[in-house]
Each structure stands twice: as C-alpha cells, then as structure tokens.
C-alpha cells in the first residue's frame, strides 16, 4: 500500500477547523514498527505532472463515467495548446479541474450557502438541495470549472441510455456542479477516478498537510506552480513542470 493510500485511511476529526498552513496540527508517530500517521485534519490536493501528461483524456472519460455528468459538462478536462511552429512544434496538455482552493472565490458569492468548504478536509462542495442555479459561482470561478446544466438531456437527446438513467439521478438540473474530488470514493477510502485511471500516473493526490505524503514530497522536490495563484485563491492543485 503506497504512502498516499495509507494517508487516505487516516481518521480525521470533524470538529477541527481547516487551516492553510501545510504542516499545522500535523504529527507523526511510529507504532509497532509500522509507520502510521495521525492528523487532526486533511487537506486534499492534487499534483499534475505536465511532463507525464500525454493528453489522452482518460481522466476526462473516467470522470464522466464515474460521475455521470451530462453532455457539455466536464468536471475534469485536459486543455490543449499548440506551441512553436513546424518543425519545432508541440502540443502542451494541462488537465484542469476544480482546484478545491483554500480561499475559494465561488463560496462567498453563493447567496444560499450551497457552495461550501467541508470543514474536515477542505473540499469545496455543492449542496444541490440548496443551490438556486444563479450561476454566480460559475462566473466567480477563475478556472471555469463549474457548470449549471439547465436541463437533463442525455447524449442521445431525451432518450436516456440505461447508464444515464441511473447516473443522472445523482444530480439536479438547474443547479451548479463541479468536481467533487470523487468525495464518495474518498469517503470509502478509494482514490479519485481520474487518478486511478491515468495511464502515465501523471496525477498524484494526497494530503497536503502530511509532509510525508507523496504529493508533499513531489511539491518539495519538483518545480511547480499553482494555477492563478496570484488571484489569492491558494488552490490545492499543483502543476509539476
């Protein structure tokens, strides 16, 4: 079991508030010869190795399959940009998803509190029962990763496939939706679908508050940047270059 997976099973206390400091409240201890960790809270983050990403869109597809998002909605997608001119030309790929920012601009603009930050693991989530579909969060997000599908329309129009019949029950039309960091899988001790499916292992997730986690080590050792960090959002997404 990898270190990142081990961190997944670390229990957390719900009452502890989130903090932006990467190491606050973190402690380690060795127990019975095994390295185990305890923490008071978790901050899930993801590192994306841009040197490994081949732009295969597997993560995009895995996300759609896992979360049953409607046509035109991509909680995860890989941006493409062409660089240079022939013969020195190449395509750059950049997977993009909700950054689960420590200071999410989408949360304060929400008039109903439907967009919120989960206290014990800093995930930015949407309570679909509270969302009124005003799109304020969509506009406020500097990463363009929120969507408000107005109607439940399948990939074949109003005729749903059996899969769509099941998966479309997970979301409501007319409410905002975005990447949940596969919170339903995380809560079961599994990793996000995009991470699990990436064939080049370009995506690494883990607890940013654990200095021993794989993601923390990668961030320490590799050159990286956070998207639009200048906006003061403190995203939990790191691009390794």
């Amino acid at each position: 079991m990898g270190l990142a997976s081990r961190v997944l099973f670390v229990p957390y206390r719900k009452s502890q508030p989130c903090s932006r400091g990467p190491t606050r409240h973190w402690s380690e201890m060795a127990t019975n010869g095994r390295h185990t960790t305890t923490t008071t809270y978790v901050r899930w983050g993801m590192a994306i190795d841009l040197k490994r990403c081949t732009g295969c869109q597997s993560c995009t597809m895995a996300c759609k399959v896992e979360n049953g998002t409607p046509a035109g909605v991509f909680w995860m997608r890989v941006l493409e940009r062409e660089e240079g001119t022939f013969p020195l030309a190449q395509t750059l790929y950049m997977p993009l998803r909700c950054n689960h920012c420590a200071e999410p601009p989408c949360v304060p603009v929400c008039p109903t509190g439907a967009s919120y930050k989960r206290t014990h693991d800093s995930l930015v989530l949407i309570d679909q029962d509270k969302c009124i579909g005003c799109s304020a969060c969509v506009i406020a997000c500097p990463y363009q990763v929120r969507f408000v599908p107005r109607h439940k329309t399948g990939y074949h129009g109003d005729q749903f496939t059996p899969y769509e019949d099941v998966s479309y029950k997970r979301w409501q039309a007319g409410t905002a939706q975005k990447c949940t960091f596969c919170v339903h899988r995380l809560d079961q001790g599994l990793g996000p679908a995009c991470v699990e499916t990436c064939p080049t292992k370009a995506l690494v997730y883990g607890n940013l508050n654990d200095p021993q986690s794989e993601i923390s080590k990668l961030i320490r050792t590799r050159t990286h940047f956070q998207p639009r960090a200048e906006a003061g959002t403190d995203p939990s997404l790191f691009y390794l270059t």
Partner: protein, 311 residues
Amino acid sequence: MANLFNTELRAQQEWSWQLALDLFLGGLGGGLFLLYQTIDLPPVFALVSIGLVIAGAVVLLTELGHPLRAWRAIFKARSSWISRGVLLVSVFVVTACIHIAPTITNSSWRIWGGDDMGAKVISVAAALSALGITLYPGFVISASRSIPFWDTPMLPAIFFTQSMMGGCGILLLASAFDGGQGMPQAASLTIATIFLNLAMIAGYLLLMRRTGAPARESVRLLLQTRLRGLFWLGAVGAGMVLPLVLLSVQSAVGTATVAGALLLSGGLLFRYCMLKAGVYLPLPLAGIDLSKLNRTTDQLAREYSGWTARR
C-alpha cells in the same frame, strides 16, 4: 464545447438577457424612486418604481434554476452581493409601500402623520434601499474577479448613473400624459445624466483597454466585433446620443416621449452588452510560459535535430 478544451479567451455565457432585464428593471425602479424622493413628483411615480423593482425580481426568479428555493438567498448577506440585493429589494418594497400608502389612500388609514418620526424613518429607509438597488448590480458584477472587465469599483457608479438616466427616461415618457408640465425639468436633468454617463463609460472603457488582455478583449468585443452594433447603435447612439440631440434641439412633448423611450431601450442594451462582454481570465496554461516545459529553444532544436536531418 470545443472551446472548453483550448486556452483561448472566452466570454461568459451564463448571464444573458434575463439578468440584463432584471438589472434594468431594478435599476429603473430604484432610480425613479430616488427621483421621486429628491424632486417633487406625484406618488404614482413611487408606485411605478415599486412595480418595476418587483417586475425585476420576478424576471430574476424566472432565470434561476430553482426559483422556489430563492428564499434561501436571504441568509448570506455577509458575503454575497446577490443576497444583499435580495434583502435590499425586500426592504425597499416594504418601506416604499408603507411610505406611499397614506398618500395613495388619501390619509384614511395612515398609521402616523406626515411629520411623524416613524414616517421619516420609513422614508429614509425606502430611499436608502432604493439607492442600494441602483448600486448593487454593479457590486454583484464587480465581485467576479475572474472577469477583469468587471473587476472595478467604477461599475457600481456606472450602474447608478444608468439607473438615474433610466428614471429620467420614465419622466420623459410620462410627460406625454401630463401635457408636458414637468418636461423642461426632466429634460435638463436627462441631459445632465446623459453627459455624466457618456463621460463615465468613456473613462471606464479607456481604463479597461489598459488593464490586461481579457479586459482589452472585452473592450474589443464591445467596440469592434460581436457586440459593436448593439453597443454603438443601440446603447450609445440610440440610447444616449440621439436623446441628447432630440432634447437639445426640440422641446416638444412628442420629442420628449421618443427620447424617453430611446433612453430606456438604450439602458437595457447597455446592461446586456456589459454582461455579454465579460471575458474570463485566460485559463492557467495561457498565462504561463511553459514553452517546451523547461526546455529552451536551443535544447529543443538539438532534440529535434536528428529528426529534421532524417527528413
């Protein structure tokens, strides 16, 4: 859908006609009520302003994905300008109704006399909430830091002057019904607000041209490409310049009515153009020089040299 996968500048698609109409009606109602409070207008204008604000709220409700949950929007006034707007509209409707009730009902069931402290408090509360209604659309929009074209404190001021101009437009329209009695006053007020609006919009666009690529693209959308017809001909030409010319040249009731109608249509088009010109910050890949991912051009040339030689 394809533009979700590239890094080109993208204009927002979420807010469109319905929100523009909501902002227009709400601003119009707020502006008209402020005019009613500041210059001596008949109470029917206060009634119209309340109706306009309510109509704006109804339009907004129809735009929401789940209008029946809109009551939840009163709980986040500490952080959300939409929430504050909902509270302002609610306070305005209640206080303005209480304020004008004695006048409309001919004092038969007034709660307090005209000089009563309570009446003054209600009157001030109604005026302040009307002022808030004229300002808050600007704050709602400028709170979106992901769209640099909107991210400026000038917007609330522009929306305020637009609201006052809209209020003047209604006064001009109404001059057709009162035989043009209040027209000279309304015309001079309108000319002043048009000049103020033109100056503010020009200053705003000049500022935005120098603010960065996304804001520059927004200005380009407004002035040169997709929205240029609506903006130049509709919002500026028909909505401000033509009424200005009409009111300056001829002071007839018919002219004033036409100028009022033009002002109103221009105000709606202006808000629509402002919304549709909102261009997002470029997605991260576009703003950062990742060219060749840490490989210099020389390195890349060396890397590809064998390949190019083989060709």
